[in-house]
């Protein structure tokens, strides 16, 4: 590992100033992904600016029914917070489906959003990877693609985003609050992560030196009936092959409104807008769920090793919606 200078940021503005304009500097939060990348040689910062002790450790109710989550709130604390468990069970479940308890005690909300793909080629310095070294090629395409994207990929990158938390947040219309040199800006979570296109090295729309300070969840009363389901190769402690975050608003056996997002299928948490449109106003039946899933997955382009993700995603969407509707007595 390369030597690096370490400093603890005195306040948010100082943290931003310490990284902006220094191409080799990086923020350090819980460290569960960055430290690993430094060991592997994927990340080689010459300065770490520790933001883990900044006052971003609170979960607060917002007027009007929303919740503001400090960027430094640990994944375990967020999952167990009464406001999250009662208002947004989909988010609590997504967090509890991720990593292990001893990692969730370290990992932060902001860091979870910024974690990078677990594509085996990205993590292997001996192979080409456009995300790790732009222009070097993609070893996954034509390689082992079991864990890769079926939606929104490009000829340069087929990696998937690994977060569970972010999938639930995508379904909930979360907003990422970011502090930069020029002040604060607010980015809808669904615009926060990028599709790979021709620049797969850029995971998000953040500029260097911009610091996530909070994530805000707008009020969504019907999210009290929401769920996250993760399909993986082990019962626990594995990344998703496919995951589904959903919330349903039902009235008289019909769907008034639905929220749906998929994980494990794309370079970003995948908000299923086509499926949501198909569900709006439809009867709460398995046939409606199937039609919605098919609408979302119509543009999917499976790779040689992951065609199974298509029926897996379809079946998981149907199962989650069916269970949610059953819970609501529809």
């Amino acid at each position: 590992m390369m030597p690096f200078a370490y400093e603890r940021a005195a306040d948010p503005a100082a943290a931003v100033a310490a990284v902006t304009g220094r191409p080799g500097a990086a923020f350090l939060g819980g460290g569960t992904n960055l430290v690993d990348h430094m060991k592997l040689g994927i990340a080689t910062p010459d300065r770490l600016v520790d933001v883990s002790r900044l006052p971003f450790d609170r979960v607060e109710a917002l007027p009007g029914g929303g919740v503001r989550i400090g960027a430094g709130v640990r994944n375990s604390d967020l999952a167990t917070h009464p406001l999250i468990r009662s208002r947004y069970p989909v988010l609590a479940q997504a967090l509890l489906a991720g990593a292990s308890a001893q990692l969730r005690n370290l990992a932060t909300t902001g860091g979870n959003l910024l974690q990078r793909t677990r594509c085996v080629y990205f993590q292997d310095l001996t192979t080409p990877c456009n995300k790790r070294r732009p222009g070097s090629g993609c070893a996954a395409i034509g390689g082992f693609t079991r864990y890769h994207a079926i939606l929104g990929a490009s000829e340069h990158c087929v990696a998937t985003h690994p977060s569970d938390m972010a999938v639930a947040m995508a379904a909930l219309d979360a907003v990422v609050v970011v502090l930069g040199e020029k002040g604060e800006r607010r980015i809808p979570l669904t615009d926060f992560h990028r599709l790979p296109g021709e620049m797969p090295d850029r995971d998000t729309v953040l500029e260097h030196g911009e610091l996530i300070t909070a994530v805000e969840l707008p009020a969504l009363p019907f999210a009290a009936r929401s769920a996250y389901r993760k399909v993986r190769e082990r019962a626990s402690y594995a990344f998703a092959l496919v995951s589904v975050a959903a919330a349903l608003d039902l009235a008289d056996g019909a769907i008034r409104e639905a929220r749906l997002a998929l994980g494990g299928v794309a370079h970003k948490p995948w908000r299923a807008v086509r499926a949501e449109a198909a569900l709006r106003g439809a009867p709460a039946t398995v046939e409606s769920y199937r039609r919605a899933a098919d609408a979302e997955l119509a543009p999917a382009k499976p790779l040689a090793g992951n065609a199974f993700k298509l029926p897996m995603a379809r079946n998981t969407v149907i199962a989650v919606l069916r269970d949610l509707a059953k819970e609501g007595g529809a």
Binding site: D36, P82, R85, L96, S100, Q102, L103
Partner: protein, 186 residues
């Protein structure tokens, strides 16, 4: 040695700087320890290589096996994915520190009673994790397999398995680890 010096000199040329050092203090198993270390030192290496506290084990060194689990400011945490410098002032309890005044912790006694180990390498991590996990369950924290997110938690076998999934045992002593934790938690 010579090779190592060359590598370090190459690093200095590349960075135009020498390895950075930091002074920190840690409270380890009740004892205040001051140390000066390279900023690159993980909490795990600080404990083992700098302080000689050998009960946290280096398994994968990538946060995947749980062998390095300790109680960090009272909560279970892996120590291989943290830089020690970021935890200046932290209170750490390792498995050896759980045995206060020569008396084993109830979880340690249960592991012995149920033969919850074979080679023993994962055991200190398993024990710290179990101690943290039992506290979490008592505080009503749900897990991935908890049906009612807002209700009290009963530590069924499924709950224990899920909550301990961050600790791998290559010997496969899981059946007895489960029995030990079930007893210690009751």
């Amino acid at each position: 040695m010579k090779h190592w010096r060359c590598a370090r000199a190459a690093l200095r040329r590349e960075r135009g700087s020498k390895p950075m050092e930091a002074r920190i203090t840690l409270q380890v198993d009740g004892e205040r320890r001051a140390l000066t270390l390279d900023t690159r030192t993980t909490l795990l290496d600080a404990l083992r290589d700098h302080l000689g506290v050998m009960s946290p084990k280096k398994g994968c060194d990538h946060g995947q096996c749980g062998a390095c689990t300790v109680l960090l400011d009272g909560r279970r945490a892996t120590t291989c994915l943290s830089f020690a410098v970021a935890h200046d002032g932290a209170a750490i309890t390792t498995a050896q520190g759980l045995a206060a005044n020569g008396a084993l912790h109830p979880v340690q006694r249960a592991f012995i009673a149920h033969d919850g180990l074979q080679c023993g390498y994962c055991t200190p991590g398993q024990i710290c994790s179990a101690v943290g996990m039992i506290e979490e369950a008592r505080a009503g924290h749900p897990s991935h397999v908890t049906k009612d997110l807002t209700g009290p938690v009963a530590l069924t076998d499924d709950e224990i398995r899920e909550r301990m999934s961050g600790n791998l045992c290559r010997c496969g002593a899981y059946v007895n680890i489960l029995a030990a934790i079930r007893e210690a938690a009751s």
